[in-house]
Amino acid sequence: MIDLIAALLMAVAAVTSIVFTYLAVVEKNLIQAVVFSAVQSTMYALIYFLLMAPDIVLVYLPVGVGIYPAIILLLIKKTDKVDE
C-alpha cells in the first residue's frame, strides 16, 4: 500500500511539473518565469525524494530552489525585465 501511495505522489508531482515548465517557458514576465521554474524545481525535489535519492535532494533543493533563482533574479535586475 505504501509503495502505491509513493508512486501516486510521484505521478502527481510529475504532471504538476509539466504545467509549471510550460508556464515558465511561455511567460513573458521574466521574474514570474523564474518563480515558476523554482516551483518546478520543488516538484523535482519531491520526485527525487520518492525515487529514494536523499543525497540528491540535499544538493538539489538549495541549488534548484535557492541559487538558480537568486542568480537569475540578479541577472534580470541588471538586464531586461520582459521577454519579447
Partner: protein
Amino acid sequence: MSESIIPYLLTVVFVSFVINLVIALYGIFARPTLVKKIIALTIFSDSLNSLAIFVGYRVVSGRVPAPPVVVNYTNPQGPAQLAKVAVDPLPQALVLTAIVIGLAVTLFMVKVTMQVYRVYGTTSVRKLERIEHGNRGEEDEGVVE
C-alpha cells in the same frame, strides 16, 4: 491490484520527464531572450538528471525500495541484504556531480549574458542579430570606399 497500477504510474512519471525535455528544448530554441534560454536550459538539464535517476529506480513488491545507504555495518550480510531492496546508487552519484557542474556552467552563462547586455544594450538574440548585421554592412561599405 497495486502491482498493476504502479508500473502505469511510473510510466506517467517517465513520460512527464520526456515532455518536460521537449518543452525546455522549445524554450531554448524558440524564445528570443537569453535569460529565458538560461531558464529553459536549467529545466532541460534537470529533466535529463531525473531520467538518469529514474533508470536506477526499481520496484520491490510490498514496500518502497530502500535508499542506497549501508546502515548495518557490523553484520557482514548487511550489504547483501541491502542490495536486495535498495535502488541503484551509481546514477545518483553521477547526477550529484552533474548538478554541481550544471551550476558552474549556468553561472558562466549568466556572466556572459551580463557582458552581452553591457556591450549591446539588449539580451534579445533577434535584436543582437540586427545589430550584428548593421555593423557588418558598415564595414563592407568602408571596404568598398
